[in-house]
Each structure stands twice: as C-alpha cells, then as structure tokens.
C-alpha cells in the first residue's frame, strides 16, 4: 500500500486482512496471532504470509493440531491481559474447540459477575463453493450466533476485511470473525486511509423500494448480482449486509421492510433453526403489519455439502434462486 500516493490501490480481501493483522500487531504489544500453519506455511489461506518474518515466532505462533487447546489457551491469555488473535483453519475444525468457545469464552464475564473480560478475536474460514465436500464446506456462523456472550462478525467487503479486526480486538468481549473462503481472492479498490470500522451496524449496500434482500458474507456478491437482475426487470431491490450476526442490527432491517414490505433472506447456512429463521421470526414479531408478502428464504439445502460441482451449486444459494424468490414476493400470483 502506497499511502503516500493518496491513491486507492488494487487489493485482495486476503491482503486487506493481512493489513489489518499487521496494523493490530504494530499498534499493540499485547496482540499476537496463533493457529495451525499461520507461521512457516503462511496460513492455510495465505492470509498471514510474511508476518512470521516481520514479527517473529513470539507473536506469530504455529500451533499443533490441537484446536480445543490452542483456542482455550487464547481465551486464557485474553483473561490474563493479552489481546490474542486465534486463527482456526476452517469453522469445520472449530467444532473441536466448541467447548472452549461456548463454555468458557462466552460465559466468563457472566459467571464472574462481570469481573472478567475475554478480549479475544477468533478468525475462521467458512462456507462452500470449492468442492471440498461435507467436512470442509459448512457454514456454522449461524450456530455460533445462537450463543449469548460472543459477538459474531462476517466481513463481506474489502473495507470490512481491513477494518473489523481492530474494532473487534478493542471489544472487551470475545468476537468470532467468519471469512467466507471464496472471498479471499476478491479484488478491488481500497482507500489508502481505510481503517477500523464499526461492528454494530448492518449496511445498506444497495437501495431499492420493492423488496429487501438480507444477507451477509459470501452471499453478498450473489445477492447484489440478483438485485441488478431484478433492477433490469423493473424491481428495486434493497440489499442489506448484516455485517454483525450477533447482536443483530434489526433496526436497519426493519426500516427497510417498512419501506419495501417484502423480504428475502439469503444465507448459505441451513434453514432449520438458523440465522435466517431468527431474522424472519423477529421481522414477524416486530414488523408483521409492514409485510405484504410471505418472507422468502434462500438458504443451503438440508444436506451435507456434496462433492460434485453441480450438486454443490444446487445445495447453496445462487443468483437465479434469489431472483426467483424476490419475484415471488413482488408478484401477486402467489
């Protein structure tokens, strides 16, 4: 990044994350990064490439394949005054650390009557789309969003990839950051002065009057493409990027629904007992009389993600499905 030039530069999502890591490591001595292959290997998604050389083994720590322990160790270090960033290779492996996240990180403040803080950030890749089959492709962010005591964020843009980490580290509570694996190659312009961003508010990525499309993370791009196609057919679609999945910024969602009266939720996670179910439920609780059509959900099919490309594509939200769902909400022929 040539900040001196004042020009915005081409950058990938992966590089934006790396900038954020570098900034955090430089700004505060308490920050360190640990996880499987984050050092010598350069990160399984190459996010931390080069950081070992810059910051050394003390602060860029390769761990054994011991998810429960290194996540738990991060929580312990956070309790004891550090600001750890823990990378779990994919959210599928985070299940091995579920006990530490749910039973320790999420509960410490409450169990101690407010005495303790756990200022940890746990980053992990999520999502399907690379034919990695049923043990490497799932989206568990909605699951974690079930848990009180942790904050869940999902950067979907370069600005958020660059800006969410520091804000998350400054949050005294544990923050889980879900990075959709297909976003790492996302490339675009980023202002040289891009910096920390809020992790409280949803963002309206496109405005429209006819239907609200609510999404986040890896589905944002597909949803924006669907909105374009709806625009070509004469329907104004408003696209909301949730950004933070817990706590949900329902104010932004409900304000949009009050305008459009129609809603489609796009989420790669499964429907049953999900984030999309939660958003739909809260909308009917708080904005029932604004709705002019049943809420539609475009979600992962209720199946472990299969390996073949055509089946994987059919198992997760795609642009035509989003367009069709939105058309059902605006059509009077239900």
């Amino acid at each position: 990044m040539s900040a001196a030039s004042g020009q915005s530069a081409k950058i990938t999502y992966r590089e934006a994350l790396r900038l954020a890591l570098r900034e955090a490591l430089r700004r505060d001595e308490r920050v360190f990064l640990m996880g499987e292959d984050v050092g010598r290997y350069g990160g399984s998604y190459a996010v931390s490439k080069g950081l070992l050389e810059e910051f050394g083994e003390e602060r860029i720590r390769d761990t054994p394949l011991s998810e429960s322990t290194f996540v738990g160790a991060g929580i312990g270090a956070a309790l004891n005054g550090m600001l750890p960033i823990v990378e779990i290779m994919t959210c599928n492996f985070s299940l091995l650390a579920l006990d530490q996240i749910v039973n320790n990180a999420a509960t410490m403040r409450h169990m101690s009557g407010g005495q303790l803080s756990v200022p940890i950030v746990i980053r992990m890749a999520t999502g399907a789309g690379r034919q990695l089959a049923a043990q490497h492709s799932h989206s568990f962010e909605g699951w974690y969003a079930h848990i009180p005591g942790i904050r869940i964020v999902a950067p979907a843009t370069l600005e958020d990839a660059r800006g969410m980490l520091w804000t998350a580290l400054m949050d005294p509570d544990p923050v889980l950051m879900f990075e959709h694996a297909l976003l790492y190659n996302l490339e675009g312009e980023l202002a040289p002065d891009a910096g920390p961003v809020d992790i409280d508010r949803a963002a309206v990525r496109r405005s429209g009057d006819d239907v609200t499309l609510v999404t986040y993370g890896g589905s944002l791009g597909k949803t924006l493409r669907a909105a374009e196609q709806l625009g070509e057919r004469g329907y104004g679609a408003e696209v909301i990027d949730l950004r933070t999945l817990r706590p949900l910024d329902m104010g932004t969602v409900l304000a949009s629904v009050a305008k459009t009266h129609r809603m489609v939720i796009v989420d790669e996670g499964w429907k049953s007992g999900s984030l999309s179910a939660e958003i739909a439920a809260r909308t009917t609780e708080d904005a029932f009389y604004d709705l002019d059509a049943p809420i539609e959900r475009v979600c992962g099919a209720e199946v472990p993600i299969p390996y073949p490309r055509h089946l994987e594509e059919a198992a997760i939200p795609q642009v035509p499905g989003i367009v069709d769902a939105a058309l059902r909400t605006v059509s009077r022929h239900v």
Binding site: T12, R14, A46, N185, H261, Y289, D290, H310, R332, V334
Partner: protein
C-alpha cells in the same frame, strides 16, 4: 502437438504468474518433470508436465499473469500426435443439468376448500384499517391471490373516484342539466338583487402582445385571448373582495382564494361553469392548460361533478360568436359574474382624435346585498388598468 496449460493448483486458484521456465525451446522433457515455477497467492509452486516430448515453443514469458487453463507452452510429442489427453476444464455439469431440465413445475396448490378464508397481507390489512376500507370489497388480481397492499391502494383510489364521480346516465344528462340551470337561474333572479355595470376596454396592447407571444410558441402552447383576461379578472378581484365568495346562511363569506368559474357551453345546448382553482396565482400557461383540459372534457361530456362544486365567482365570455356584450345572471351562492363580449375593432377617441382600436366590452353583474355600484366600478377600473400591461400578467 501437446498444449501445456496453466494448471489449477487449488480449488480457489484463478490465475498464476509464470516466474521461471526450467526448460527452453528444443529441450526434451519427461513426464513428471518440473518445467516451470508459478507464483500464486500462496507462493511459488513448481509445476510439472504430464507428457514427455520436446519443447516446441514457450508461449508465455516469465512475469506474465495468466488464467488457469491458458496455454503456457507447446510440446512436440514422440509419436507426433498428442495423446487424446485431458485438456480443458469441462463445462459446468450444473449448467448442463439446467439446460436439460425444465424448471420444476410449481407444486399443486391444495384443493380449494368450499369456503375460502380471505387471504390478506398484514400490510394490506393495516392500510385498509387506516383508510376505513372494507376488505370484502377489495379484489385481488386473480381469485386465488392474496390481497396485497397495492390491491388496497387501488381499491381506495377507485372508491374515491366513484364517490366524486356520481355517474350520470347519458339519456338523463341534458334534461337534468336543463332542470339544474332552471333552478339555479330562477333562484338567482328570485333571491339576488342584481346590479349591472359595463365598460369598454381598449385591448389593442393586449392583442399585440398576445400575437407576438403566440408567434414564439408552437401550436400546442398558444394562448387564447381569454386566458390573460381571466388572469386580469382574478387579480382585479383582490381589489373588491365582496365580489369573490359565497352567500351562505344569510351572510356573505368572502373567499381568500379565487376559484374562477368558467361558463362553458355544452355542444348542442346546456351550460356548466366549472372552477379553475386559484386562478389569481396561476401562470398564463397553467391557466391555459387548465382551461383547455376543462373545456375539452366539458365538450366531450366527461366532466366530473366535483369540479363544478366550488367556484367563488364566474366569468362568461361569448366572444366567439360576435356578440358585443353579455350581462350575466349570478350563479348562487356566488355574488358576481363578469361578462366579456367579442374583441372587435371599433372607432375610439383618444386625445381628441378618432382612431381604430381593438375593444372589448366588460360587464359586471353583482349582488347588491353584498356590494354596490361604486365598489363594482372600482373593480372594472382595476380590470382595465391590469389589461393595459399584459406582460405583467405572466
């Protein structure tokens, strides 16, 4: 010839930069030999070739970034012919599937129960409550569709129009109008003590200004002479408010707004005087557009009764037919009617000399209960003054 292509080294690799060739043109290569180094997001990776042969040509130079599947080099194979190797990324099977499969038929809707519960969207229900609209009167576009917000809005708009537009049967139309005119005029002559004033007004300047103005305009934008006269009448009424308002409950109620009733003859007999609202505040173009719309609809028999309800004063112009002057009968409950005759060239004395001028005769019939002749004369004088400066009527 065998085409050595940029391999896909990872599921998310889209392109790579060729860093180095480990072979050169003319070199023999073995299957499995590392022939190039490619830089990826994850770093430099040695790339092997899966065909033995002799390098014919290196297609891509080091430093170039090329997408997966692009030819990097050409290889001469021993047998001459390259084996029918696997070369290209297959078309997406999902696409093939999509092409081959028709979109699934919509699931059959549950058989309709004998008595349907009205299906209404929540926002439609809320809006109907706000509007006081009976949802039983709202029809969705198809019988099995639920009632939407748009259906409610549409039903509301239609109901408003129906309320305003009491449909009149064509056969009764003239008879009813005749009866209404008879009743109104009889009442006027019975109840309203009229007084009458008349004056001739030189409109030469107005005529010249209008001609010049219309020359600049296309056909559809031209102004008729009555339009600046309307504006002048509306403005002159500010001077004598007793002429603009309604007699109601035994007293006159002046109106702060000038709703100028325009007497328009129906084709084949009959008369209506619909209002042009706020005539004093409208530009000439707006007045022309309003008037044209009204007249067109009156003469086409498509006027809404609501438009006739609330004039505060009336203007009648019979200039088209060459009459010199018209002395009107006041429309109750108004208190005045202004009449304009034909604009014609007349002998005119000016500064002791006889000249020819374009002249119109303006009359005022007014309610003596509300005003008297002096006030009426003030109005006509103001009207004359205003007409002398047509450019200010804009």
């Amino acid at each position: 010839m065998y085409e050595f292509r940029m391999p896909a080294l990872g599921a998310d690799m889209e392109a790579g930069t060729l860093v180095e060739w480990k072979v050169k043109s003319g070199d023999p290569v073995r299957r499995g030999q590392v022939v190039a180094v490619v830089e990826t997001q994850k770093g430099a990776i040695d790339v092997e070739i899966w065909q033995s042969g002799v390098v014919e040509r290196l297609v891509v130079a080091p430093g170039m970034r090329v997408p997966v599947g692009e030819v990097l080099a050409l290889l001469r194979t021993e047998g001459g012919e390259a084996p029918a190797g696997v070369a290209a990324v297959p078309a997406s099977p999902a696409e093939a599937q999509r092409a081959a499969t028709a979109p699934p038929a919509a699931p059959p809707s549950a058989s309709a129960p004998a008595e349907r519960v009205l299906r209404i969207s929540p926002s439609a229900r809320k809006r109907a409550r706000e509007l006081g609209l009976d949802l039983a009167t709202v029809r969705p576009p198809t019988p099995d569709a639920p009632i939407s917000l748009a259906d409610v809005e549409r039903a509301h708009a239609a109901a408003s129009v129906r309320a305003a537009e009491t449909p009149v049967q064509a056969a009764d139309w003239r008879g009813q109008m005749r009866a209404a005119i008879a009743a109104a005029m009889s009442r006027s002559k019975r109840e309203i003590p009229h007084y009458y004033l008349a004056t001739d007004i030189d409109v030469t300047r107005l005529d010249a200004w209008l001609t010049a103005e219309n020359l600049k305009r296309s056909v559809a934008e031209r102004l008729l002479p009555v339009v600046p006269l309307m504006k002048a009448v509306a403005l002159a009424l500010h001077t004598v408010p007793e002429l603009n308002g309604v007699w109601t409950g035994g007293a006159f109620q002046p109106s702060s707004q000038v709703h100028l009733g325009m007497a328009v003859a129906m084709r084949g007999g009959g008369l209506v005087a619909p209002a042009i609202h706020d005539a004093d505040r409208k530009s000439l173009d707006e007045l022309m557009a309003n008037l044209r719309d009204l007249v067109t609809r009156v003469r086409g028999g498509r006027l809404r009764s609501s438009e006739m309800a609330d004039p505060t004063v009336t203007l009648t112009s019979l200039g088209d037919l060459g009459v010199d002057q018209v002395v009107g009968v006041i429309y109750p409950p108004q208190s005045a009617i202004i009449g304009l005759g034909t604009v014609s060239e007349r002998p005119w004395v000016e500064h002791g000399a006889l000249v020819v001028r374009k002249v119109v005769t303006a009359t005022l019939s007014a309610d003596h209960r509300v005003s008297d002749g002096h006030r009426g004369a003030l109005f006509l004088t103001e009207l004359r003054t205003l007409i002398q400066e047509p450019e200010k009527l804009g």
